[in-house]
């Protein structure tokens, strides 16, 4: 059995990168798998070259290559991200921080009561959308900065900078609420439950945007260190 040299390992890292695996955590696992397979195959086929053995081993991943592995890994880590985000959003509705959230909610409710305009709920959602757009731009800038600073990419890092879903998912909910009001009007604004509903949704949306675009990205070092500590996380 041959034992692969450093140049072979470097070649394998390059190989998985070229096959659309840009994330170091996944690259490492796949490189070890390919290397172990090549070493074993070299016993059965001593006459074959490293490249031929790599080709045999890679074919075992099927016609889509590493595509499924990356997609399903992203899916599993997205769920982890949502848990992280949910914990932090829930943190804003626990004592004593809930007082601040309550204050925003009450302020929102009384503004709706005093001004009594059908356009006001829409103005609130436009405000949330504007904050979310600023947040998405911030995420994009932070992502670029980090990519310039560090050569290794981590899948969880990518998910964090994509706001958990392609970067624009964070805009969807406030946008849908805004469209709902544009299409159906806000003639129920005089009803207490309706004003309460608008106030609660505005505060919750604001907290979600805050967590996704500010809180989690600002904690990215500690989150990645915790997630990838076993890799002795470093660049």
């Amino acid at each position: 059995m041959i034992t692969l040299e450093q140049k072979h390992i470097d070649h394998l890292y390059d190989f998985v990168r070229r096959h659309f695996v840009p994330y170091y955590d996944l690259q490492t696992e796949l490189v070890d798998h390919l290397a172990s397979g090549i070493e074993k195959l070299s016993e059965e086929h001593p006459g074959k070259s490293f490249e031929q053995l790599l080709d045999i081993e890679f074919r075992k991943f099927g016609v889509h290559g590493f595509e499924d592995v990356v997609a399903k890994r992203a899916n599993a880590l997205s769920k982890e991200y949502y848990r992280l985000a949910l914990e932090r959003v829930a943190g804003y509705f626990k004592w004593p921080v809930i007082l601040q959230s309550l204050f925003y909610g009450v302020l929102c409710y009384f503004t709706l009561t005093v001004i009594d305009s059908q356009w006001l709920p829409m103005a609130f959602y436009v405000f949330i959308i504007a904050v979310a757009i600023a947040g998405v731009v911030r995420l994009w800038r932070q992502k670029k900065q980090r990519e310039r600073k560090y050569s290794r990419k981590w899948l969880l890092q990518e998910i964090i900078f994509n706001g958990g879903g392609g970067g624009v998912a964070i805009l969807q909910l406030p946008l849908q609420l805004l469209l709902f009001f544009v299409n159906h009007g806000s003639e129920r604004i005089e009803l207490l439950w309706f004003r309460l509903l608008v106030a609660v949704s505005v505060v919750v949306l604001f907290r979600i945007v805050q967590v996704v675009c500010w809180v989690i990205p600002d904690q990215i070092d500690s989150i990645l260190e915790e997630r990838y500590k076993t890799y002795k996380f470093s660049d």
Partner: protein, 112 residues
Amino acid sequence: MDKWKLYKGSLDTIVLQLLGQNDRMYGYEITQKVKEVTEGELEIKEGALYPALHRLEAKGLLEVEVDHVGNRMRKYYKLTEQGLREKDNALQQLEDYLSTMKKLIDPNISFG
């Protein structure tokens, strides 16, 4: 019928059981162990194994350790406490399933 389709539904149970029998294992080792134990009857597809491992890890059933082995890093998986409990549940469910299937396909059993 493709044999793999029958085994695929039990992949998580197979992985949990193997990790229950061994302290920790890495991906390639799992594929080889399954091949060895089943005398070549079952070969776990790489494209299915890693998603299963990552899914079980995300559920908190597996934890990982990364060690340097020669000139490369190796990611090992091991059962967590929760994973250990889940392994027992999964095995029980698999046994129940096999027993039900046996009743269905055994021609000697009378259905009254």
